[in-house]
Symmetry: C2
């Protein structure tokens, strides 16, 4: 029998306890060992809870109990999760987590400590909830050079965009509906500003390229400025707007890593990923495009990924899993202004014909797109690849000519 | 440096050699060991081949070389692959394979021999080509009870159906195009009769339920009888016809495991899986629906999955991976006649009104569906769940009333 501890008894933590106890027998069969929860750490009281006897507020009790071999850290946030995780690893306990913020900011250091102490630090649940993605990238696709990863990594923003696309709901109304349904926090900034997706693409990039890419290196833009006008133009162009976390290796060896809204074609496998679902496309040089789809969040999906990691740790108590990346350097990311891509632009102009002529001089291969019931003074077009610096210069020039750019959105290349 | 051997220098074998040599450095980094191909086994001559010096026709040379720790069996077919694999495992060599026929017919025995000899027998490439599916089911979803697996598992038949659906091409023309493109064999029976998909769903079922389900227990029906009339009715019903390998656990604990054409709704994540691509849906009790999508065959995708298994073996030379299932019993599969599902029926009748009235008496909740330009004497309807025995009885009764059933196709429940 292997003793484990669960740190944090919130949504995910209670899910972990539920999955471990309800599937006790089948999990024992798969892990080749019975798994017993010895402690649940939380500062709150849970009177009458069926696991009340396992609850403790004292982290040291877990740390100093040599019987505890595996710890699930599902507290979230960097502090005190960072300190607790470090001390557990140093004490020779394996740690599994759903804590994307901690993995994204301290992953390299914690993986190094795990390696030195011959234990495991696993985090399948940190990206994509219940979707298997960390192991497939690190193991199944190990024979590939990863050319590109692009994913719908945040269920809340995908729910909002789905309502805007299919139900013609405004951003504000869709956000309110997401909050009413419990998909969005009262303060939705981490989701709608793209920070959550930024942490996740940073983790996937670190894994795929072997160097820690810190979240502050990810150019991040949320969906708060997307309007129904843009949604309509995307439809007439033949696609949808999705918030995409993307990383790809450029010819000069640097990484283009961003979170931003993108126009993606209806034919893309990511175009049909709707509501709170996540979809992640991994493009390998040998395997081609592989797409993973499923619930990216939620109590039981996330808990089941945490428990799968616990099972893996129990099966490998004396063997390392070699999940690893080295510390990173800022230099490996291409400055955003120097990256290059196609864009969709929507603008207002008194003289539409003159504005379109000006646009065709300033932007590379600008092609007009139209939508039904457009306001009199509106123009829109799509371009070929231009650097971000070049795009901004062209927008400035357009503005000097009396044309006001209302939207500029990246067009996906996958 | 770890020495490996590749048995079979056909399409997949040459891909394995290509991936191992072209990615030599990055693979060494991931495996923490350099991997060297010491032998390539094939009975054919390859004069002038860059790896000519590694070619051998003598299996015993590989078997008796204790330096060879991992063998990739990519010969295909049961014999002599079965004998070679068994003897390698008994000699303490790990074996990885893309050979679905061998895994489906001899998996339990070979996994047992691998276990007894403390080596690994891995077969990520046997299902879904380059799509990660074996590891995700055995590891990432280990905390789930698998409720159902349903997949488009054969690229050739999916290509043919895609041409029928989107280009209105007949089965015969689409098959010929598949053959011209190299997607289908001169003798296409293994693909179009569903045998290939049957082996794959048998492997996935064995993995998910822990008991060997032999392919002859899988009720298998191909796509040769699908007509453009059925494709048109599926469209007017709101879906497409796909060849689906499916397994689910019934309330009595038995498995419903089949390969057959099914009508699936356009909203299903499998409906957009087109051309030679594969898509596999895994429904877990905790994680919900997870879908894996990618190229299910082809030289490099399949080779990259084989090489990923080689890397895993090299990283675990002294540790077992615990991929395992026990021998199975025929009894665990529900007899096909007793399984129950909804169907679509197309029939010819002199008196359509009388035929529809008769159908509504014989079939459970029969609802008429229509299509444009239907022949005068054609009727079509969909039903609620009925046992297969009940369906066949109703078809017989209908026939006695002068109504000839031309098609009867299962309606998917996912």
């Amino acid at each position: 029998m292997v003793q484990v501890a669960v740190m944090g008894y919130g949504v995910v933590g209670s899910g972990v306890v539920e999955v471990l106890s309800e599937h006790r027998d089948s999990i024992a069969k798969r892990a080749k060992e019975e798994i017993n929860i010895k402690y649940i750490l939380d500062i709150r009281e849970f009177p009458g809870d069926p696991f009340e006897d396992k609850l403790t507020k004292d982290f040291e009790q877990i740390l100093n109990d040599d019987e505890v071999k595996v710890v699930a850290e599902v507290m979230g946030g960097v502090n005190p999760a960072y300190d607790f995780t470090k001390r557990c690893l140093l004490k020779g306990k394996s740690v599994v987590t759903s804590n994307k913020e901690l993995v994204a900011t301290k992953g390299a250091e914690l993986l190094e400590i795990a390696k030195e102490n011959n234990v495991n630090y696993l985090f399948e649940a940190s990206v994509g909830g219940g979707i298997p993605i960390i192991r497939p990238i690190s193991q199944c696709l190990a024979a590939n050079e990863v050319i590109e990863i692009a994913g719908i990594l945040n269920g809340t923003t995908n729910f909002i965009l789905t309502k805007m696309i299919h139900d013609n709901m405004s951003f504000e109304d869709a956000l309110k509906l997401a909050q009413d349904n419990g998909y969005a926090e009262r303060n939705p900034a981490a989701d709608v500003e793209g920070l959550d997706a930024g942490r996740k693409i940073a983790i996937l990039a670190s894994l795929a390229y072997g160097k820690h890419i810190y979240p502050d290196l990810v150019h991040t833009q949320g969906i708060t400025k997307i309007t129904l006008d843009d949604v309509a133009y995307a439809a007439s162009w033949g696609g949808v707007i999705k918030l995409i976390g993307q990383v790809k290796r450029l010819d000069d060896g640097k990484l283009d890593i961003t979170v931003e809204p993108m126009l993606i074609e209806n034919a893309s496998q990511l175009a049909n990923v709707d509501d709170v679902f996540n979809g992640i496309l991994v493009r390998g040089d040998a395997t081609g495009d592989v797409v993973f789809y499923g619930k990216g969040a939620g109590k039981l999906p996330t808990a089941s990924a945490v428990v799968a990691d616990i099972i893996d740790c129990v099966k490998h108590l004396s063997a390392r899993k070699y999940l690893y990346w080295a510390d990173g350097i800022a230099d490996c990311v291409k400055p955003y202004e120097e990256t290059s891509y196609s864009i969709y632009v929507r603008a207002e102009a008194e003289d539409k014909q003159a504005a379109l002529e000006k646009a065709s001089q300033l932007f590379t291969n600008a092609r007009t797109i139209v939508r039904a019931n457009a306001p009199e003074n509106e123009i829109a077009f799509v371009t070929d690849n231009m650097t971000v610096a070049g795009q901004e210069k062209a927008v400035d020039e357009l503005s000097k000519a009396g044309v006001t750019v209302k939207s500029k959105i990246r067009i996906a290349d996958f």
